[in-house]
Amino acid sequence: MSSLVSLEQTEQIDFSYLRNLLKLTDGNLGAHLSKLEAAGYIKIEKTFVERKPRTFISISGRGRDAFAEHIAALKTIMKSSKEKTAQRK
C-alpha cells in the first residue's frame, strides 16, 4: 500500500515492476494483492500491451482513505505515547 499510495490518482503500476521494486516473489506479492483487492483497497487490471499480457495495479479511493486512517492512527499512538512520557517527567 505504501508503494501504491505514492502513485497519482490515475496511475497504475506494472505487477512485475512492483514485485522487483519490493523484492518479493510473484506468489508473495500476488497473495498480498488478492487480500487488498478483496477488501476493495486496490484495483487489478489484466490487459495486453503491445500484444503481451500485463497486469496493472492501482489504489482505489477507499484504499487511500483506509491507508490515511492507518497512518493517522499510528501518529496518534506516537503522540499519546509522547504525552504520557512528558506527564511522567
Partner: protein, 202 residues
C-alpha cells in the same frame, strides 16, 4: 493488539521509505531515457560551440530541435509501452507536461527580453539555470528527489563555469559538467529501470 510507540515510528518510517523509493523509481524510469538524450545533445552542443563559436546559434537550434523531437518520441513510446506505470488518462498527463514546459520557456523568453543578457555566456548560463530551476521544482513537487539534486548540482556547476573557469573554456567545462551530469543520471536510472522491469519469475 497494542502497538508501541517504537513500532508505530518504525512503521511510519518504513511507509515513507517505500513511498519515496517508489516515487523516485517510477520518475527515474520515465525520465532516464530523456536525460540520456539531453545529456548527449548538451555535450555535443557545447563541444560544437567551443570549436565553431560563430555557428553557436545554429548548433544549439538544430540540436535543441533534435532533443525536442527525440523527447516527444520517447514520451510517446513510454506512454505506449508502460514498462513501469501507465496512466488511465495519458493524454491529460502528456498535456500537463507540455503546459509545464511551455510555461517555463514562455517565462524564460519574457525574462530574456526584460533582462537582455550582455553576451553569449550569460545567455547560455541563464537558459541552463532556468531549466535547472524547472528540474528543482519537479523534484520538490513530483517526489523525484534526484531531479532536485540534479538541478541544484548543474546550477552550481554552471555558476562555477561563469565565475571561476576562464571564459574561453566555459563550453569545455559545461560539456562534461552539465551534459555529463544529465547523461550519467539518465544512464543510472535507465539501467535501474531495466533491472526493475525484467519479467523473470520466481
Amino acid at each position: 493488539m497494542e502497538i508501541s510507540r517504537e513500532e508505530a515510528q518504525r512503521s511510519i518510517a518504513e511507509v515513507n521509505k517505500v513511498a519515496s523509493d517508489t516515487a523516485r523509481s517510477v520518475a527515474g524510469a520515465f525520465a532516464g531515457p530523456t536525460l540520456i538524450l539531453w545529456g548527449v545533445v548538451v555535450i555535443a552542443a557545447y563541444i560544437g560551440t567551443h570549436f565553431f563559436m560563430r555557428l553557436a546559434w545554429h548548433i544549439w537550434m538544430v540540436l535543441d530541435g533534435v532533443g525536442l523531437a527525440g523527447t516527444t518520441l520517447i514520451c510517446l513510446a513510454q506512454f505506449r509501452r508502460a514498462k513501469a506505470t501507465r496512466y488511465q488518462n495519458a493524454g491529460q498527463v502528456g498535456w500537463r507536461i507540455l503546459c509545464f514546459w511551455s510555461a517555463i520557456f514562455g517565462y524564460m523568453f519574457i525574462w530574456l527580453y526584460l533582462m537582455k543578457p550582455r553576451n553569449g555566456l550569460e545567455l547560455n548560463a541563464f537558459i541552463v539555470t532556468v531549466i535547472m530551476f524547472a528540474y528543482v521544482m519537479m523534484g520538490l513537487y513530483e517526489g523525484a528527489r534526484f531531479l532536485l539534486w540534479l538541478g541544484l548540482a548543474v546550477t552550481g556547476l554552471t555558476l562555477v563555469g561563469v565565475y571561476i573557469i576562464p571564459h574561453k573554456f566555459y563550453c569545455l567545462w559545461m560539456a562534461p559538467a552539465a551534459g555529463g551530469a544529465l547523461l550519467l543520471t539518465g544512464v543510472y536510472y535507465w539501467l535501474r529501470a531495466k533491472k526493475l522491469c525484467r519479467n523473470s519469475t520466481n
